[in-house]
Symmetry: C2
Subunit: 279 residues, 2 copies
């Protein structure tokens, strides 16, 4: 299978590694407008060759658009413009605006909207790793608008990446990822800023980090080029869940102000329910 | 060395395992007012014998008080009452109120206030594990109020647990742990409650958890019996940092409402500074 990957970062690079290693891709042609990243991907063996986008799309089976959202919103319509029979799929963390952008495109059926729920706080080709997607979830959106055979091919690709498929419409997708994933990033970014503001002694931050801070703040290492566009794109869903989060914090604060032990106990016991769902 | 551990949970149990394995303790005598926990600690080989508290304190070298804070505040003065030459040390996450409680006790010099910065979100004897403390930090407080030789003995014990010593007065300790560790727990408990409120479909929570939620919410599995007393005890420091956290969240919200991309970028870049400190 001939695979082209546009954007050779954490997600695109990790896909390249496993798709080749597992025999689904014969050769990985990479596209990256950052020439340093492109060279690094070649050096690391993630891509076998680098091409310009338009040339890469000719003579291929699947084009994976693995750039941050902002670039994807511009590139996707262009890819559909120049696509003939190629399958175009993306990996972005929000789906509604992308699907709306190409809603009436004559080649809409060539596009498979997909969101592989995997990642780390790192980015760039050096962050790419084997087995990143194993046993994680791949969300396909608005599949009724895609050609059946093309969808089946992309699903097969994600089967090779050992992902479990789930299906949502793009609007529901954006709501659900705001409610679970995007709010986690906001809470972690805010925690990092708070701790940096309050604890002026960096040695103390490092010394005390093992008291739980380290894992809670992991996502705060994530890049602005990825997350700022997501937060703006998913604004209304995200604001809704930020409000809920701030209300819960206000309730915690009020209970601590009043030293209402039973109320604090109740809130913690409520939070503990997450253990049963995740374990 | 004869060691007695009061409270055979995650911390007390993990200490028991390594202190015996590494030859510092010849025999671990455990004390636990929960008879099920006591039996489980015997079954797991964490404790060699279970005794009543008063009997356990006779004829020993070091008593480690490893109960939650609320019990420790009651037990510590009693241990000092009945101690003759034994060293009494605790592991609680706040130190000021404990130190104040025994400030004028005639045997105050027998007490070493200590806080090993290690743990997991689990509790009870089954959560005890080897090597929990390796390369973590042990904070000793108000050491000038402790007998030098007794302090040296406790520090030696924590050396055996491979911990790095730092020293603070108890008031500073409580501030710094609020600013780094306790706020992390509040943010994580609040995140769990928020996600459970907003995302009614538990299957979605599990499916979407790999998008960062899983690590950010880990601390929300922690027990109320440990954390409610800590939050109440460290009330003023914690309220201060909760206010900062809520302000930062308000700033995020305002920037997202206005879709001010540069402001959101700036906040994320500010948060990213945590990477340099922790890596």
């Amino acid at each position: 299978m001939k695979i082209r990957i546009i954007g050779l970062g954490l997600i695109g690079g990790s896909m390249a590694i496993d798709l080749k290693k597992r025999g689904f891709a014969t050769k990985i042609i990479g596209v990256d407008n950052n020439s340093q990243n492109a060279q690094r991907a070649l050096d690391l063996g993630i891509a076998d060759e680098i091409m310009d986008m338009d040339k890469a799309v000719e003579n291929t089976d699947i084009v994976v658009l693995a750039t941050p959202l902002k670039a994807a919103l511009k590139i996707l319509p262009h890819l559909l413009d120049i696509s003939t029979n190629q399958v175009i799929t993306d990996v972005c963390s929000t789906k509604k605006s992308l699907c709306e952008t190409v809603e009436n495109h004559p080649n809409r059926k060539n596009y498979i909207a997909a969101h592989p729920m995997a990642g780390t706080e790192n980015s760039g080709p050096d962050a790419a790793q084997e087995n990143l997607f194993d046993n994680r979830v791949i969300i396909f959106c608005d599949t009724e608008k895609s050609d059946n055979h093309k969808f089946a091919l992309v699903e097969k690709m994600y089967n090779v990446l050992r992902m479990k498929s789930i299906y949502m419409n793009s609007q529901n997708h954006d709501e659900h990822v705001a409610y679970v994933s995007h709010i986690s990033h906001i809470s972690s970014f805010a925690l990092a800023i708070t701790v940096l503001q309050k604890e002026k002694n960096e040695k103390n931050i490092l010394a005390l980090a093992s008291g739980g801070f380290e894992s809670t703040v992991r996502l705060a290492k994530s890049s602005s080029s990825m997350w700022t566009p997501i937060f703006c794109d998913n604004q209304s869903n995200l604001l809704e869940v930020i409000d809920t989060y701030m209300n819960v914090l206000s309730n915690f604060k009020a209970a601590i102000v009043a030293k209402e032990e039973m109320k604090i106990d109740d809130m913690i016991i409520q939070a503990n329910k997450i253990r049963k769902i995740l374990n």
